[in-house]
């Protein structure tokens, strides 16, 4: 099982993070200095590292503005809410929230990736799951604050699940 995490490069405008920061301030969470969002792809199937590299480079990232980190997991050890990849900004104080669609929700982006992988001549049967990870830099946030941010701004609990990472 492989995890791919895709970030916007540091020197490109972090418009999503800036926007979210305003919303977070509006809700009264003033201790956060910066927010960054990454996209998470979890791939399970008969895959080798080089397949994942091809998928990520040719399909998932915009090489000009983004970069990726690939990590391999042991299927037996992996837990869906444990996508622990360090953020690219070296900071001792950050918290994060991972958000995923629930299994019963059809993610059409996943369907499109499946088709695109066939176009890349990857014929293996691969299960893909897509999520987002939000990094909050500044003072370490309490689980309660992170839960509040998740529920009020990031997650629709009807169709999504989330995990806070301290």
């Amino acid at each position: 099982m492989f995890g791919i995490e895709i970030f916007t490069k540091e020197y490109f405008k972090n418009s999503f993070g800036e926007r979210l920061l305003l919303d977070v301030y509006e809700f009264g969470f003033k201790d956060i200095k910066k927010i960054q969002r990454s996209t998470l792809y979890l791939m399970d199937g008969d895959l080798k590292y080089k397949d994942v590299l091809v998928i990520s480079k040719k399909l998932l990232i915009d090489k000009v503005t983004e970069f990726h980190i690939i990590k391999q997991y042991s299927a037996s050890k992996y837990k869906i809410m444990d996508f622990k990849i360090l953020p690219p900004i070296s900071s001792s104080s950050f918290s994060a929230i991972e958000v995923w669609y629930k299994n019963s929700v059809t993610d059409t982006l996943v369907e499109s990736i499946g088709k695109a992988m066939k176009d890349l001549n990857i014929k293996k049967s691969i299960n893909v799951k897509i999520g987002y990870k939000y990094y909050f830099y500044g003072t370490l946030l309490s689980p309660r604050t992170l839960n509040n941010i998740a529920i009020k701004l990031l997650v629709n609990k009807l169709i999504q699940e989330y995990n806070v990472i301290k």
Binding site: D23, F27, K102, S104, V105, T106, D107, T108, E111, S112, K152, L153, N156, L158, I159
Partner: protein, 807 residues
């Protein structure tokens, strides 16, 4: 209650159930069927001497749902209307047929080619082509998941256009929203509800992401704000398409094959049709949420139209609410059909037969194919990588037969499914409130100016540029009049209506399609008749403002109401429907399609949140020459400004009274005879190039209308309030003249050299010259009679108006 199960299908022991058990069973299965309906079902199966299967019950529940059968509006209603202690009683056997549809029948206009019978209304464009128009509501899905619910709203209405006749080519879309106040304090939000900003952002993004990706310009819309939508936002999505007139009728014969194309079937959207018949609560079901895929829909759209032009199929419809059950059930109503559910392509294994049958998975169309075209049509879809599978055929049995792995799971008479729905008697009442003119409002200049600034900055009036600019309103290159008008990107203002010039589809045409809307929920809180009448008149005014001919306009209705099981709420809807009939007849403008969304109530911790009544009227007009159109920004200094129509003391429900917290006031009346003749004359003057700009007076009245024209052009203006014609004469204060929201009024700009001809056309009508455009950065409203002068820099007022909705 289950007797036995065959291939995932259960036989339900229904025949021995008591009334109480029938009720409980309907509730536990999420069927949303009433006791009366359950009794009817029981007696049908008793007659055929067997118990039903779960898939049969699901089929009936879907077909008889409020969403599919419009049970409230087509049922029997005993209506009592009360005014000043007097009662009038009327019985409606079918409210829709006796009001909205009746007006269309009685008007019998040549332009109506297919109305109230297909997926959209169809009107004549030219002697060979027609235009299909449909506006859908998607409130319940958007309330649960704003982004997904709104995205599938636009996807669904585009499929309606694809599913009209043999398929129309979509050329434009519309979107109208009702949200709660975006500035509401967090403490005022009910526990468990999302902030309106988050809801609005999700909904707008959903429409944007689906609409832009599918390549259809979103050209017209409106956004209304009221705290009544705090939990239940409203989402209206519309689409228009061009269809050759020879392809308007569907033909279905026994032996024809059923082809499903597009997306695979999953569990998403299961119980969507029955779900929209109930009130929402915090436990609402995840299965009702659907996720859309615009790329798949775009591919279906392109291939389907290709297949249509090659005559490869005879009928088509979309899979909307109720999924295959609704689509095939309706197509086979007159014939009968057998469907092999195990042939339906599914997203994953484990789906039960009834889930396959009623799933509302998006981006699917059902096509009726003659056997001789079987291979050809599959080839064309395969070539474009669109999934297409034959899943059954039409028969002459007049029965619906569902098969799964060689087992017959359903066998029911089409007549029972479609015509045997019981019609309960509902009761409705409405008390017409007496309206009183407010005490005369006399304000000083500085107070008027302060108020004008407040009004311009109000969410209901201020610039919606942030929303509009997210949509691609120019894709396809046919949008002649766009939603934003102005000299530069910094000075754009809202247009009254948009115009599509479909020259890529209808070669060598000069004709265009005008799209506009009218929406006045504030009036509905006091008088739903006046709300409906005003919405109709406003939609016509908007269309006429850009150059539409009222004789070639058609309208659509979208009723969004609270819980119509309550007599007073149902009564308010009937009162509005009566206005629809009266206004349609008075303006000779037919209704061609509509869609209602009832039960817009939400429960949180036993607290009920119900929306105010809303009627959206969407208008479509055909114009002969797209070059004979005008926009709303002022054009040139020294040109004269005229007001057409009468200003009355009608401040009831207005933006002004909202700010001043004035409870009294007369809700604007529609004086249709006055209004209609003005609209005809405007068309004449625009056709003769005698008007430079035109804008209707609506929210905020004359003061706001003039200011908006000024902002969009960055040109100053001087208005003499004393010259505005009022009724009764000289009875209104300056404030009342400036902010009255009387219907039937337009502000127009006329070149000095055209004034003579212009006045000649409007001779004997009520109009007056009220000012002129000036070469200064100021807006001036002056009354020498009352010694008042309201003067402010255009740029200052404009900044209030551009308060920047930015989510």
């Amino acid at each position: 209650m289950i007797i036995k199960s065959i291939v995932g299908c259960k036989i339900i022991k229904l025949l021995n159930l008591s009334y109480k058990q029938l009720n409980e069973f309907s509730r536990s299965m999420n069927l949303s069927l009433s006791l009366l309906e359950m009794i009817k079902i029981k007696s049908y199966f008793k007659k055929i001497a067997r118990n039903p299967t779960d898939i049969e019950l699901e089929t009936i529940a879907q077909t008889w749902s409020e969403h599919c059968k419009h049970k409230t509006l087509t049922g029997i209603i005993k209506y009592t209307e009360k005014k000043n202690g007097r009662k009038k009683i009327r019985v409606f056997n079918n409210l829709l047929k006796e009001t909205i549809f009746r007006a269309t029948i009685e008007l019998n206009k040549k332009q109506c080619l297919s109305v109230f019978k297909d997926n959209a209304g169809v009107v004549e464009f030219d002697h060979k082509n027609a235009v299909a128009f449909k506006v859908e509501t998607h409130n319940h899905p958007a309330a649960l998941e704003p982004y997904g619910g709104a995205a599938t709203g636009i996807g669904g209405v585009v499929r309606d256009i694809l599913g009209v006749g043999l398929g129309a080519k979509p050329v434009a879309a519309t979107s109208v929203f009702c949200f709660a106040n975006l500035d509401i304090k967090k403490s005022q939000i009910p526990t468990g509800a999302c902030h309106p900003k988050r809801i609005a952002k999700g909904i707008i993004s959903g429409v944007r992401d689906y609409g832009n990706k599918i390549g259809i310009p979103i050209v017209n819309g409106a956004t209304c704000f009221d705290d009544g939508y705090i939990v239940n936002p409203l989402v209206f999505c519309g689409a228009i398409g061009i269809i050759p007139q020879k392809r308007i009728e569907k033909k279905i014969c026994a032996g024809d094959l059923i082809l499903i194309v597009g997306g695979k079937t999953g569990r998403d959207g299961v119980h969507g049709a029955t779900f929209s018949s109930i009130n929402l609560d915090q436990q609402s079901n995840i299965n009702a949420v659907q996720i859309g895929n615009p790329i798949v829909e775009k591919k279906i759209l392109d291939v389907m139209l290709k297949a249509r032009d090659l005559n490869f199929y005879k009928a088509v419809t979309d899979c909307g609410a109720g999924g295959l059950s609704s689509a095939i059930g309706e197509l086979a109503e007159q014939t009968g059909a057998v469907v092999y559910l195990d042939k339906v392509p599914v997203k994953y294994s484990g789906l039960r037969p009834w889930e396959i049958w009623i799933s509302e998975s998006q981006e699917r169309m059902v096509i009726v194919v003659e056997r001789k075209n079987k291979k050809k049509i599959i080839k064309i879809f395969n070539e474009e990588n669109v999934e297409a599978t034959f899943i059954g055929e039409f028969t002459n049995s007049k029965k619906l037969v569902l098969m799964y792995k060689n087992n017959m799971l359903a066998n029911m008479d089409m007549f029972f499914i479609h015509k045997d729905l019981p019609k309960p008697v509902r009761y409705a009442s409405y008390t017409i409130k007496n309206e009183q003119v407010q005490e005369p409002i006399k304000l000083h200049s500085f107070e008027i100016l302060k108020l004008l600034k407040y009004l311009l900055a109000d969410l209901n009036i201020c610039s919606k540029e942030w929303i509009i600019r997210q949509y691609d309103h120019e894709v396809q290159g046919q949008t002649i009049i766009k939603p934003l008008h102005g000299n530069t990107i910094e000075t754009s203002g809202h247009g009254d209506a948009s115009v599509i010039f479909p020259y890529t589809i209808v070669k060598a045409t000069k004709k265009g399609i005008v799209l506009s809307n009218g929406l006045n929920p504030r009036y509905g809180k006091i008088n739903t008749y006046k709300m409906a009448a005003s919405a109709i008149e406003e939609s016509l005014r908007n269309a006429v403002s850009v150059g539409a001919d009222i004789d070639k306009i058609s309208i659509l209705d979208n009723f969004c109401w609270g819980d119509t099981d309550k007599s007073k709420i149902l009564g308010s809807l009937i009162y509005a429907a009566k206005a629809c009939y009266d206004m349609s007849k008075a303006f000779c403008v037919p209704f061609i399609s509509g869609k209602d969304s009832l039960h817009n109530e939400y429960f949180i911790d036993k607290n009920k949140y119900s929306i105010p009544p809303v009627l959206l009227i969407s208008a479509i007009g055909i114009i002969n020459d797209v070059t004979k159109t005008v926009t709303m920004p002022f054009k040139k200094e020294n040109n004269k400004i005229y007001i057409l129509g009468v200003t009355r003391n009608e401040l009831g429900g207005s933006m002004f009274t909202k700010f001043k917290n004035i409870k009294n006031g007369i809700i604007p009346v529609v004086y249709y005879a006055e209004s209609k003749i003005i609209m005809k004359k405007i068309y004449e003057t625009i056709s003769k190039n005698l008007i430079e700009s035109c804008h209707d007076c609506s929210d905020g009245g004359l003061a706001v209308a003039v200011s908006e024209m000024s902002f969009a052009s960055n040109k100053g203006v001087k208005i003499n309030i004393d010259t505005v014609k009022t009724e009764p004469k000289d009875s209104l204060t300056v404030t009342e003249i400036m902010f009255s929201e009387s219907n039937g009024r337009f502000i127009v700009e006329v070149k000095p050299e055209n004034e003579f001809k212009f006045k000649k056309i409007f001779k004997n009508l009520i109009f007056s010259e009220i000012g002129y455009i000036i070469n200064e950065d100021v807006i001036i409203f002056e009354s020498k009679k009352h010694k008042l002068k309201v003067k402010e820099k255009l740029s200052v007022l404009s900044n209030f108006w551009r308060r920047n909705i930015n989510l």
